[in-house]
């Protein structure tokens, strides 16, 4: 379709010779982002576009008796109103692992905020007002809201006729997946314990709260297909789910990644993708959909809230004897990534510790609560919250230092996981704890630092001027966590990269084309760094990510630098080989080193490993373009046994440790986190600046869940009470302390450049470290996130 548009562009960066891997190269999209010119998905624009709007269920579980769209359709400026009956094919559901999520509700709704109808109009407000005129009659159904109501005799089934019990040994149709892990004999081992501690822990529902709302633009094509510009984490996964619903072959759904304003797992599932395409194909006009913040809270899955029961034992000299635990994750109305979250929660339930005898069980429920799926840390976060609280309880009972106790039980390279999988790369758990403990503590009572009365900004409560420090006490807490990297449990995880090398305007340049979703993590920066390192060129162009190249897999599971970075590296190596072949054919007779030496591409030249220059790349490539597309896979994994949980399920592990320093106003129940120091092993820092940024960002999301973040679902109605930034609080710059970062680089010999996925690990231990510090300050036994004032004041 012709017409003026705003869509993504190439990113070209050049002129830096020291901008290869290991350098803190600056982002190629940085200038566009600071000038406001970067094209985010909500900035997409087409000159004659319409606006789409989604009407959502006001009920959590109800039969849809009738829908009347006539008044909405008659509204001036409205071009289309669509319901379930308008879906063009028999494929009416989608889903990441289980296709159980309706494109539009049919027959009934299963959660508050489920999409029921769509409107396209010439102004967003027209669409909104027309949607309000759609009359829906609901008949309320009984609710399933927790494990007891889900598995009670005669409980209503969230999904009737569910026939996919093969996904696990699920004891009830309202359980999505179940993964036990049994190793050794926990009951027998418990007899050796001198102390046993147990606890019940509750982890609240966290939201990814990315700032860029779900949004995009669908443009109908002249061939009956559609072009979709959208923010997502995995273009090809979206494509696989979108095309069948539209009744189009995949090649007729052309997807281009638009600027992504953060993701954190919340863009793994579809949101407005199919809706925009349906409206565009129906009206024959481009359709843009942009969620507002309210709708965004209903438009993506959240982090699974969890209840965790843990029992640990230890001998009096401080060695862990056994672990028994049960983890119940609430998956909400649709499966999303729940099966994989269960796999992670169970296989990482023991944490980074050596425990030979374990009895672990994790399940995810179907309920009428909001759907939950992927979020940074993915199942490992909830477990870390519980096992780290247990470590502190054990250390206290044994009269040991909590850090020394952890170090005594820390896993290391060679440790066998509860799944039977040996850890075959560095696992510096004790060392990370040592580093974090060795950091100097921040000075006490900083509100007095100015010397002229209290600077209230440094106190809990801050500018509210609620205290001058009278009831404020300090606490220090530690935590450490383990996260798997990459897709596990036998998934065929791969990524694809296309690399082109040619001479343009007299300069050798490389173009990297992948379908990797840049969601802010800096993948575009490291791809250019890798290309510079492997191909010896200065100028690298990053092509917009789209479905014209093979899949890059998801930007999640801390896998993208490993996987698509690995794909770019391998493809660059193959391109380099072709360049050298070309060089040998053109110039091989001039110098024997062409045949005998190890050759490299450096500084725009072909050089020997001894540094002797053989040719300019410009001369080698003149008139030729080398263009290759290759896939990259990590080593294979296998599924966990459904009864014993045994199996080499994970690719790589990532470790981070935190020390939190907090000040608590015990009179007001307010907490100020003074410092959150972190030490993390990254294997190899391809871009140290980005690495530190990721670690600080992940740490802050863990801080948020510790003291303020929670989606509150009314237990009686299963309706969301706080879908706004007024009521769902994320940390501001006043809530976030200084975050000193200590980066360790112990190479993993199995990974590209020795790197280790880093994005998620810092989110794990941040939360339990803050909780430990608050417990240390107050002496209270806190077992729930987030800590609220009433938990601290007992009111």
């Amino acid at each position: 379709m012709a017409g003026a548009t705003r869509t993504p562009t190439n990113l070209t960066q050049g002129g830096k010779t020291d901008a290869g891997i290991g350098a803190s190269t600056l982002r190629p999209d940085g200038t566009l982002k600071v000038t406001g010119e970067f094209a985010y998905s909500s900035d997409m624009w087409h000159e004659d576009m319409l606006w789409g709007f989604t009407l959502r269920s006001t009920e959590a579980h109800a039969e849809i008796v009738s829908i009347d769209t006539s008044e909405a359709l008659a509204t001036s400026g409205v071009y289309a109103v669509l319901t379930y009956d308008d879906l063009p094919t028999d494929v009416k559901n989608y889903g990441l692992e289980i296709q159980d999520t309706p494109v539009l509700a049919h027959g009934k709704v299963r959660h508050h905020g489920e999409p029921v109808a769509l409107v396209a109009a010439d102004h967003p407000e027209t669409a909104r007002r027309a949607a309000a005129k759609i009359r829906i009659e609901y008949r309320q159904l009984p609710l399933v809201t927790d494990e007891a109501s889900a598995t009670a005799e005669g409980a209503p089934l969230v999904h009737e006729g569910r026939d996919d019990h093969h996904i696990g040994h699920v004891p009830h149709p309202n359980i999505v997946h179940r993964q036990p892990i049994i190793r050794g004999n926990a009951a027998e081992a418990a007899k050796k314990a001198d102390v046993i501690v147990s606890g019940e822990y509750v982890f609240g529902m966290q939201d990814q709260a990315f700032l860029g709302p779900e949004s995009g633009l669908a443009v109908p094509g002249e061939d009956g297909g559609v072009d979709l510009y959208v923010a997502t984490q995995w273009l090809h996964s979206d494509l696989r789910q979108i095309a069948p619903v539209l009744g189009l072959p995949e090649e007729k759904v052309r997807m281009t990644l638009s600027g992504v304003g953060g993701a954190f797992g919340g863009r793994e599932d579809l949101s407005m993708q199919i809706h925009a395409c349906l409206l565009a194909l129906r009206t024959g006009k481009p359709v843009k959909i942009v969620y507002n913040r309210f709708e965004s809270f209903f438009g993506h899955v959240h982090r699974h809230p969890a209840k965790l029961w843990y029992e640990h034992g230890a001998t009096k000299d401080g060695k862990l004897t056994h672990l028994k635990c049960r983890i119940v994750l609430d998956g909400g109305a649709y499966a999303s990534a729940s099966p994989a979250v269960v796999g992670n929660a169970s296989s990482l339930a023991v944490g980074p510790y050596v425990v030979d005898d374990v009895e672990i069980e994790a399940i995810a429920l179907y309920s009428n609560n909001p759907p939950c799926g992927a979020m940074r840390g993915f199942g490992a976060v909830q477990a870390c919250f519980a096992y780290e609280a247990q470590m502190d309880k054990l250390a206290k009972k044994l009269g040991m230092d909590p850090v020394e106790f952890r170090q005594l039980n820390a896993m290391e390279q060679g440790t066998i996981m509860p799944t039977g999988q040996p850890v075959d790369s560095p696992a510096p758990v004790a060392e990370l704890l040592r580093r974090i403990k060795a950091m100097p503590l921040p000075p006490e009572q900083q509100w007095l630092a100015a010397g002229e009365g209290a600077d209230v900004r440094a106190l809990p409560g801050g500018l509210s001027n609620t205290t001058h420090g009278e009831g404020v006490v300090r606490g220090v807490g530690y935590a450490v966590g383990i996260k798997n990297v990459g897709f596990s449990e036998g998934f065929d995880d791969y990524s694809t990269a296309r690399v082109r090398m040619e001479v343009l305007a007299g300069v050798p340049v490389a173009t990297v084309h992948t379908a990797m979703a840049e969601v802010g993590q800096g993948g575009v920066t490291v791809h250019a760094q890798i290309a510079r390192t492997e191909l010896g060129v200065e100028q690298v162009t990053i092509h917009p990510a789209d479905t014209q190249v093979g899949s890059a897999g998801s930007t999640s599971a801390s896998r993208q630098t490993y996987m698509t970075g690995g794909a770019v590296k391998n493809t660059c190596e193959a391109v380099r080989e072709k360049v050298l072949q070309l060089g040998r054919a053109k110039f091989g007779t001039y110098h024997p080193a062409w045949a005998t030496a190890e050759l490299l591409l450096e500084g725009g030249k072909v050089v020997t490993d001894g540094g002797e220059v053989l040719a300019d790349l410009v001369d080698v490539l003149e008139g030729e373009a080398i263009d290759l597309e290759l896939e990259f896979r990590h080593r294979p994994t296998e599924a966990f046994d459904l009864v014993t949980g045994q199996g080499n399920g994970h690719v790589q592990y990532s470790f981070a440790a935190h020390r939190a320093v907090v000040e608590v106003d015990t009179e007001l129940g307010l907490v100020k986190v003074i410092e959150l120091a972190v030490a993390q092993d990254v294997g190899k820092a391809l871009n140290p600046l980005s690495v530190v940024g990721q670690i600080q960002g992940g740490t802050t999301q863990g801080l948020g869940v510790a003291v303020m973040e929670e989606i509150i679902v009314d237990p009686k109605t299963a309706k969301v009470r706080n879908p706004s930034f007024t009521d769902y609080l994320i940390p501001t710059i006043l809530d976030t302390p200084s975050i000193p970062v200590d980066v360790l680089e112990l190479a993993d010999e199995h990974a590209p450049y020795g790197l280790r996925g880093i994005g998620e690990a810092p989110t794990l231990s941040s939360t339990p470290a803050v909780l430990a510090a608050i417990r240390n300050a107050t002496g209270l036994e806190l077992n729930k996130t987030p800590v609220r004032p009433e938990h601290l004041t007992g009111t």
Partner: protein
């Protein structure tokens, strides 16, 4: 209705504006200036911060009709705004915008590469890039406008001052540490420049 106002030094006229439209909507969808971001449209996140007659405001909370005859600076105009301030001294009054004559002669200056390399940036914009304060970047425009206004008022802010000034701007990616670094960097560079001129 029709709204006449000045955006980044240029006279603008928006027609057929519906009474409920926000300044943010008019800037993004009618003026083709998508730099001000639509993260919450509730005045909670600061992503849409612009200067209205010099004062930082959430443009999502300003009705378009309220800007009639007034002067708006968005992130797209930040570099020019900072440049004029540097050339003409302080600008706390907001009166240092482009003259009408200059506005009429204004032409867009496309960058010489698609990444905008060699684009002229304000000190705070450059500092955000150099300090690694930009990740997904969705909060960046609002933070830049707020931070630039802080440095205009206070060229040597303490960390507490920076935190207070930026407390209305949410960022979900960075953990804010590098944003603090960026503001410190811009302040330090400002001091160096003054020191250099004095020597």
């Amino acid at each position: 209705m029709r709204v006449n106002f000045t955006v980044n030094g240029r006279k603008q006229e928006a027609d057929d504006v519906w009474e409920g439209e926000s300044l943010l909507y008019v800037l993004r969808e009618r003026m083709g200036l998508p730099g001000s971001k639509n993260a919450c449209e509730q005045g909670e996140c600061g992503s849409c911060t612009v200067r209205l007659d010099g004062v930082p405001v959430c443009s999502c909370l300003v009705a378009a009709g309220q800007v009639e005859g007034r002067e708006v600076v968005t992130v797209e105009g930040l570099a020019d705004y900072a440049k004029q301030r540097a050339e003409h001294g302080g600008c706390a009054s907001g009166a240092c915008g482009t003259s009408l004559d200059a506005a009429q002669r204004w032409q867009s200056k496309p960058a010489d590469s698609q990444t905008g390399e060699n684009t002229e940036l304000s000190p705070i914009q450059q500092a955000f890039i150099d300090a690694g304060a930009v990740q997904c970047g969705f909060c960046t425009p609002g933070l830049l406008v707020a931070a630039d206004e802080l440095l205009e008022r206070n060229d040597s802010p303490s960390d507490a001052d920076i935190r207070e000034a930026l407390s209305g701007n949410l960022c979900r990616c960075t953990g804010y540490e590098k944003i603090l670094d960026a503001v410190r960097l811009a302040a330090a560079r400002g001091e160096n420049r003054t020191a250099g001129q004095g020597a």
